[in-house]
Amino acid sequence: MKVGIVGYGAYVPKYRISVEEIARVWGQDAGSIKSGLDVIEKSVPSLDEDTATLAVEAAKNAFKRAKNVRASDIGAVYVGSESHPYAVKPTAVTVAEALGITPHVTAADLEFACKAATAGIQACMGLVRAGYIRYGMSVGSDTAQSAPGDALEYTASAGAAAYIIGGENLVAEIEGTYSYTQDVPDFWRRECAPYPRHGGRFTGEPAYFEHVIKSSKGLMERLGTKPSDYKYVVFHMPNGKFPLRAAKVLGFTIEQVNPGLVVEKIGNTYSGSSLLGLAAILDIAKAGERILLTSYGSGAGSDSFSIIVTDLIEERRGLAPPVKYYVERKEYVDYAVYARNRCLYRG
């Protein structure tokens, strides 16, 4: 039985703050930060937006593209995030309720830094394949926190992507998935701590690259595919540099990475990151084209997926706004408004 993507949807808040504006406040050199990260600005949520509201907007767009799927056909809802609004009370129920999916549904919040929602896609694939549910939905959504003045402040942003997974009416088939996971202390946030802490340079080699590369390799080995079999490749995007370096090591070209590289103008949307990249590719890909997706979550692990686009994509992608629309729709705020919106004054 086939399994794959029935609908997908993106959402990014309207507001942006530039790297220049953040650097101005902290007296740092914007030019070297921009060239070091390949990020020039990042998205900022409104005061009344959080992980749940972003997830609902993305999920609504996924439903528009899934066309004939009714809310009551969804048997599982997972929301992956590291900024769930409540410590105790699931975001997934708010999302399910807002879309009219409740009450005959299983729902849960997932946490695995930036890769929780790809784990949610795997869970949906399993439930669909086993015949327990007809369709499942996994949403990656974050309004990422960063301590004022921390290096993360230049990239930690907000966005969401939602995927409806099923066995029929596929816009893209998932032909295989593979994961690579180890206990690595590269990035963490303790209960009650407002902002995450990280291991600085340690986040690179033993963390991001080790997992992204080995997971991608593992998947290609299992399926007997090679980089040239893929038209596009998407990796988690903590900045604009890491995915390009991972691609190079694996033997992918810049042309394969670029269409899904959505970090430059919206920042690192954490749980939304690799899934927004995939959505940007589904916005333009043609039937028969293959996509490799590899997420990364600190802590640490990666999930890889080999995806083949179907004919149905042509009639479905125009039913909701493309990622490009959300990236280009913007209004700049200064640091004072940003600090107010992100409640930094508690800091």
């Binding site: 409104s46 749940a52 309720e97 807002a98 879309l99 706004p321 729709r329």
Partner: protein
């Protein structure tokens, strides 16, 4: 709002649900149990609005009750839904100088208010300007 009251009203706030009288076809928001026109002959069923409508009237709020203070200045709009009923709601992703009567708007999902740092977060619909610019761009490709 106490948790039980919060919960009872959540569904209609989350999904913009109204009621429809199957006898005369009238649609109401907020939902009513009895059709004021048909009284006992009416039969009410739940209906979900498309979420699209127009700004019928609006005002800019500069001095708000404590729960909404942090949003000031904000636009409070009376939105006429395409199905007919009018809904009072905040208009977001829009600057006060941009709002116009007749402006096309659509429902979006936002935080409505929070009791305090430790209380319940109330979610529900607000409205934002409709931006269909992406449709034209897409068809040009």
């Amino acid at each position: 709002m106490a948790p039980p009251a919060h919960w009872r009203r959540a569904k209609e706030r989350y999904r913009l649900l109204g009621s429809k009288c199957e006898n005369c076809g009238s649609i109401y928001f907020p939902p009513t149990k009895v059709c004021p026109k048909c009284r006992r002959k009416g039969k009410m069923v739940q209906t979900e609005f498309s979420g699209r409508g127009k700004v019928f009237s609006y005002t800019i709020i500069h001095a708000a009750p404590k729960t909404f203070e942090k949003y000031t200045p904000y636009i409070l709009a009376l939105v006429e839904l395409e199905e007919g009923p009018k809904v009072l709601s905040q208009l977001v992703d829009c600057r006060p100088e941009e709002v116009k009567i007749g402006m096309e708007v659509e429902a979006c999902f936002r935080k409505l208010f929070e009791q305090d740092d430790e209380g319940i977060i109330s979610y529900g619909f607000k409205f934002r300007p409709i931006d269909d610019s992406w449709r034209n761009k897409q068809s040009q490709n």
